[in-house]
Structure formats: structure tokens, C-alpha cells
């Protein structure tokens, strides 16, 4: 276990940023999101949940795939370079780290998505334990320990120090890079914090949320439930829940005409949008009910069916906080629970 005084954190950031690019929670115009560190930025480790998850670091909201130039009849395709430089994502919470594991299941499955894989292999994850979980958190339900998250390096923030524990080889490498800023430490403060967090987690309102009945086998029974009929009603069909979610991975591929060629990029898409499945001969999800159902069925039924029971929800609670109509996955799970299904 290592530690560094809070007052020295700017030095730590600068030291990391000198060697690699550093992505961490930065407050801009009142909201905190993961962003590239600069000398002038306002690092914010106090806000528990960034608005968007850390997903952007590995799977950006939009990224160029290739450029296409046309010269007469000839087309030339220039693929975008893959990530080839190392970078560090600092301050990811346990839920977001698990979110990346969920993305891995999708993008690292054959055929491997090389854009994602390149970022994964060049990125080092420095996770941060949640000192003060909030009411919308339910990561425990998915077996995540927010007091000791996964990652290459795990850190804990107390009033005076940031405690630093390298876990993987990548983590050791990063630790070596900043070794002269870190001092050795015992575990006492961290143990105390973990215990305190554990007690809070027990008291979280959604700590006892039951996922019973949500699995790949329940497919048709859940799909055909009449409950969706009322559940979807307040949905505005916006993409807030999808875009703040650490696990939503559906994407769209689009073209942009730059005037001297076509830039093909991919961007996050949302199953909540009415044109998500639109095609020349029609749309197989014509109602908001179907689209709403798709989101939750994907997370709680289809994904586990294809990935050995792993849910595509990590209980970060962002959708709970952000839905303009106060709809969320917790309400859906509970509604089915009440029905005894």
C-alpha cells in the first residue's frame, strides 16, 4: 500500500500526464465528467457520480472509423489509426469498472473490435473506492464491492491522503512511473474506510433489490408480461438513460460529408429512439412500449442469456438520478417483483 497527500495530487496528475494522457473527473460549467487533464482543469473527486460514465475513455460517444475519398470513380479508404499511446483513466468507481467488463464481453468477443481492443490494451485503470455511496447506488446487487473496486490500481480517498494499491502488472508499471511521489503506508486508514463504506452500503435503500427471475430462461415470460403496458407510459423517448449508462453499447454507424470526402464514424445509439430499427421495409419496433421493453430485456434477460448470466447493469444508479420522468431500472425490477414473477 502506498499513499500520497491530497495536497500533492496536482503533482501526481502532472507526473502522469507528462508521460501519458490522463483522463479523470473534471468539473466544467457545474457538471463533472471524465475529461482530459490539463493544467487549468478543475479536477473533481468529490462528486460521486460523473454525469456520463467512464465508458467514453474506451468507447467514445463518437469516433471516426475511416475516411473515404473519391477521385473520379476511384474510392480510397483510409482507416483511422488505432490507439497506440498509453493513457490512464483515473478515479473510476467500482460500478464503472464493471461496466467496462460488460463492454469487454461485447467488443472483445470474436470478431474483436480493434478500435476498442486497442484502447483497452493501452489504457490503465486507476479506480477509486466510493467514500460516500448515495441513495441511488445498487452495485452491491450485482456483486460489486464499491469499497474495493477492480482495476489496475485501486485507490482510496480520505481527508488527507489518497491511498494507492497497484493490483495488476499495468498497475505496477504506472506505480513505478510515479514512485517518487508515493510513500509507503499501512492499511489502517483504508481498512477503516472500507468498514465504514460497508455499513453505509447495508443501509442503501436499494441494497436488497432482488433480481430473482431475471435470467435468460425467463425470456418469453418477461417479454409477454402485461406490465410493460403501464411501465413505459411516462417515457419521453429521450436517450438520457442510455447515454449516461456505463454498459449500454449499442451504436450507430453514420457518414458525414466533409466536402472533400466522407467521414464514417460510429456513435452511441439508443434503443429508445424511434428510428433505431427503422429500415426500408418498415420498423419491427413501432411503439415506445417495444423500445422501452428492449432496453430492460437487453440488460436483464438477453445479455445474461448470451454471457453466462452476467447482467448488463452494474447498479450505478445514473438512470435513477437522471431520468426526466423518474423511470428507471429499479422501478422495472420492483414492478416485476411485486407481481411475484
Amino acid at each position: 500500500m502506498k499513499k500520497i497527500a491530497i495536497s500533492n495530487l496536482p503533482k501526481l496528475y502532472a507526473a502522469i500526464a507528462k508521460a501519458q494522457s490522463l483522463i479523470l473527473p473534471v468539473k466544467t460549467a457545474g457538471k463533472t465528467n471524465f475529461s482530459l487533464w490539463t493544467e487549468a482543469c478543475d479536477v473533481d473527486l468529490q462528486t460521486l457520480k460523473t454525469v456520463k460514465s467512464a465508458k467514453d475513455a474506451f468507447f467514445p460517444q463518437s469516433e471516426t472509423l475511416y475516411h473515404c475519398h473519391r477521385d473520379g470513380k476511384n474510392i480510397t479508404i483510409t482507416p483511422e489509426d488505432l490507439q497506440s499511446e498509453s493513457f490512464v483513466v483515473f478515479g473510476i468507481k467500482g460500478c464503472d469498472v464493471r461496466g467496462i467488463a460488460v463492454l469487454d464481453k461485447v467488443f472483445l468477443a470474436e470478431p474483436v473490435d480493434s478500435f476498442y481492443a486497442a484502447r483497452r490494451c493501452h489504457g490503465t485503470i486507476v479506480s477509486l473506492a466510493c467514500g460516500a455511496p448515495e441513495e441511488s447506488c445498487f452495485c452491491k446487487v450485482f456483486g460489486i464491492d464499491c469499497a474495493e473496486p477492480e482495476g489496475d490500481v485501486v485507490t482510496w480517498l480520505t481527508e488527507d491522503y489518497l491511498y494507492w494499491k497497484p493490483v495488476t502488472e499495468k498497475g505496477e508499471k504506472l506505480t513505478a512511473l510515479v514512485a517518487d511521489l508515493l510513500e509507503d503506508s499501512d492499511d489502517a486508514a483504508v481498512t477503516a474506510q472500507k468498514e465504514a463504506i460497508g455499513k453505509i452500503v447495508e443501509k442503501l435503500p436499494y441494497a436488497a433489490l432482488s433480481l430473482e427471475g431475471w435470467n435468460g430462461e425467463a425470456l418469453n415470460e418477461k417479454f409477454n408480461s402485461p406490465l410493460w403496458e403501464t411501465l413505459y407510459k411516462p417515457c419521453l423517448a429521450c436517450g438520457t438513460c442510455t447515454f449516461v449508462c456505463p454498459t449500454c453499447q449499442c451504436y450507430d454507424i453514420k457518414d458525414y460529408n466533409t466536402g472533400n470526402g466522407v467521414q464514417r464514424y460510429r456513435c452511441w445509439d439508443s434503443c429508445m429512439y424511434s428510428d433505431f430499427t427503422m429500415m426500408a421495409h418498415g420498423n419491427n419496433r413501432t411503439s415506445q412500449l417495444q423500445r422501452f421493453r428492449q432496453r430492460f430485456m437487453h440488460k436483464l434477460v438477453y445479455f445474461p442469456a448470451n454471457n453466462d448470466g452476467m447482467y448488463s447493469c452494474v447498479g450505478c444508479g445514473r438512470c435513477v438520478d437522471k431520468c426526466p420522468s423518474h423511470l428507471n431500472i429499479v422501478k422495472v425490477i420492483k414492478a416485476f417483483g411485486k407481481e411475484g414473477k
Binding site: 472509423l65 475511416y66 473515404c68 473519391r70 470513380k73 476511384n74 474510392i75 480510397t76 479508404i77 482507416p79 489509426d81 488505432l82 490507439q83 497506440s84 461485447v106 467488443f107 468477443a109 470478431p111 474483436v112 473490435d113 480493434s114 478500435f115 481492443a117 486497442a118 490494451c121 493501452h122 435468460g216 425470456l219 418469453n220 417479454f223 409477454n224 453499447q249 449499442c250 451504436y251 450507430d252 454507424i253 457518414d255 460529408n257 466522407v262 464514417r264 460510429r266 445509439d269 434503443c271 433505431f276 430499427t277 429500415m279 426500408a280 421495409h281 420498423n283 419491427n284 419496433r285 417495444q290 428492449q294 430485456m297 437487453h298 434477460v301 438477453y302 445479455f303 442469456a305 448470451n306
Partner: protein
């Protein structure tokens, strides 16, 4: 090919989302709204090896990209063909292209008809309607080119009118002349100069009263599939004996972009070929 390499993953020279350039080397007007395009890489040959039933993404840069079934059989060693019906923004644009124009192609995507496993040694009944002959053509030619591996072949093909029958030349000159292959053609409404059967495919199917000692491969518009399936069941076929294809909106082709799912199955990866009893297990959202 693409100099597009990740230092720690030397294998990643070619992401599946990055297409190859293709040159249109031949265009055949099949029907008033269907053209068959022969598309080759600039250096000639084929883009990739595929199996019958597999698809590829064809894109006109700046217009759109969509999944098309590869019409030519894998046994064709020289080139690949796509029969495309004019019905949307992209296909309109494709139809306006000329020989020598370039598009981009990526693939192959999806599963394929089990020509080397379940279908082997079987008697086969192909049922197609309209443009749906496109995916079946590759299977039929594959079967005919490996004739010894399969039993008796019946092909039932229908279209709106005689002018809408795709690949008529090949049907008449090759398929009809192959031993132990019966071709049944039908059109929806009577037409001058047509002395074949008139009537919808499902009706004709019932009239033909095939015995159940065969596997049916069914492809067509959803409504035709529905009624043909009913007819087949009335004739005593079980759902395990019938294969069909599904189509939904696809973007990535590799089961990641998340839109072509029916339940936990992705049509682009787990499909497009499904056995009918497998489809029954899926939620009704297609």
C-alpha cells in the same frame, strides 16, 4: 492491406467495420426493378470466401450502407454477385451506378444454410417469392454444383408477374435442364404469353402436394413465409424440416451494434438463416 496496426495486437490489421473497395464489373437488368451486380475487388477475384446464405454490407459512401445476400454460389470461384431490388435510398443509388463505378464491401456476415451438415443427402424443396430468390440462388447453385451430395431437388418460385421473375435465364437454361431437378414457376395474375401456373406461391404449393420426405428452404416476403409455413404444416411437414431467413435493420454485421436482435439472437450474427422451430422460441418482435 490496411496499414492499421495496434502494437500490442499485431493481428488487428483489419477491423471488420473497415470495408474493401469494390468495382462493379457487370450489371444485369433482371426485372424492371431488380438488377444483379457483379462486384469485384480492383485487382479482381473475390472479396472473401462465403457460404450459401451469408450476406455482405454494401455501401455507397455518403449515401448509406445495407446488408445484401450474396447471390452467387461459393462454387463460383471467379466473382461474387448481388441481386438488388430498388426500394430505398441506397438501392435507388445503386441502380443508378454503371459498370466501372466503385462501392465498398465488407463481410461475409451471418450464418449460412447447413449445406454441409443437415441438408446433405436430403431431398430439397426450395420455395421463393420475388427478390427472395437472391439468397436461395447461392444455395441452389451450390447444391447443383455438388449434385452428388443431395437428393431430389424441387424449386418452386413465384413472382408478381412474368417480368418480375429474377434470374429467369439461368432458371430456364441451367436449372430446368439439370437432371433430377424440377422447377415450378408461378405468377400472381394471368398475363399474356404466360402459359405456366397462375396463383400465389402458398396455393400452388398446396396443389403440388409434395410428400414430406424432404427439407424445405423457404424465403420470401413475411406474408408469403407465413402462409407457406401453414401450407407446409398442413402437408405434414414439421417445423424442424423448414429453414427460412429473417431480416432486420443491421449496422455492424457482427452482433455488437445491438439493433437486429430478436430476443437474445442477433439476426446479423446468429441468422439470417433460422430453422422454423428456432424462430418459434423467439419473442414475436420481427
Amino acid at each position: 492491406m490496411h496499414e492499421h496496426e495496434c502494437t500490442c495486437h499485431p493481428g488487428f490489421i483489419h477491423d471488420t467495420l473497415i470495408p474493401q473497395v469494390g468495382v462493379i464489373t457487370d450489371i444485369r437488368q433482371e426485372t424492371p426493378d431488380v438488377k444483379t451486380f457483379r462486384i469485384e475487388p480492383p485487382q479482381g477475384g473475390k472479396f472473401f470466401e462465403h457460404m450459401p446464405g451469408q450476406c455482405a454490407m454494401i455501401c455507397v459512401p455518403g449515401v448509406s450502407e445495407a446488408m445484401f445476400s450474396i447471390t452467387s454460389s461459393p462454387t463460383n470461384k471467379e466473382y461474387q454477385e448481388f441481386s438488388i431490388k430498388k426500394c430505398g435510398v441506397l438501392t435507388d443509388c445503386l441502380h443508378s451506378l454503371e459498370v466501372g463505378d466503385q462501392v465498398t464491401v465488407r463481410g461475409p456476415y451471418g450464418n449460412h444454410f447447413p449445406v454441409e451438415t443437415e441438408l446433405k443427402k436430403q431431398n430439397l424443396l426450395f420455395i421463393a417469392g420475388g427478390i427472395a430468390l437472391a439468397p436461395l440462388r447461392s444455395v441452389i447453385n451450390y447444391v447443383l454444383d455438388n449434385r452428388q451430395n443431395y437428393g431430389h431437388v424441387d424449386i418452386l418460385y413465384g413472382a408478381r408477374s412474368a417480368d418480375d421473375l429474377v434470374q429467369l435465364k439461368e432458371i430456364q437454361e441451367v436449372w430446368m435442364k439439370t437432371a433430377d431437378v424440377n422447377v415450378y414457376l408461378t405468377i400472381d395474375r394471368p398475363q399474356e404469353g404466360w402459359d405456366g401456373n397462375v396463383g400465389f406461391v402458398p396455393t400452388y404449393l398446396k396443389e403440388l402436394a409434395f410428400d414430406t420426405n424432404r427439407t424445405a428452404i423457404l424465403c420470401g416476403p413475411p406474408i408469403m413465409i407465413k402462409f407457406c409455413l401453414q401450407a407446409l404444416q398442413e402437408m405434414g411437414f414439421s417445423k424442424q424440416q423448414v429453414y427460412t431467413t429473417l431480416e432486420l435493420r443491421m449496422k455492424c454485421g457482427v452482433g455488437k451494434c445491438g439493433r437486429c436482435n430478436i430476443g437474445s439472437k442477433y439476426v446479423c450474427k446468429d441468422g439470417p438463416v433460422f430453422r422454423c422451430d428456432q424462430i418459434d422460441e423467439l419473442p414475436a418482435e420481427y
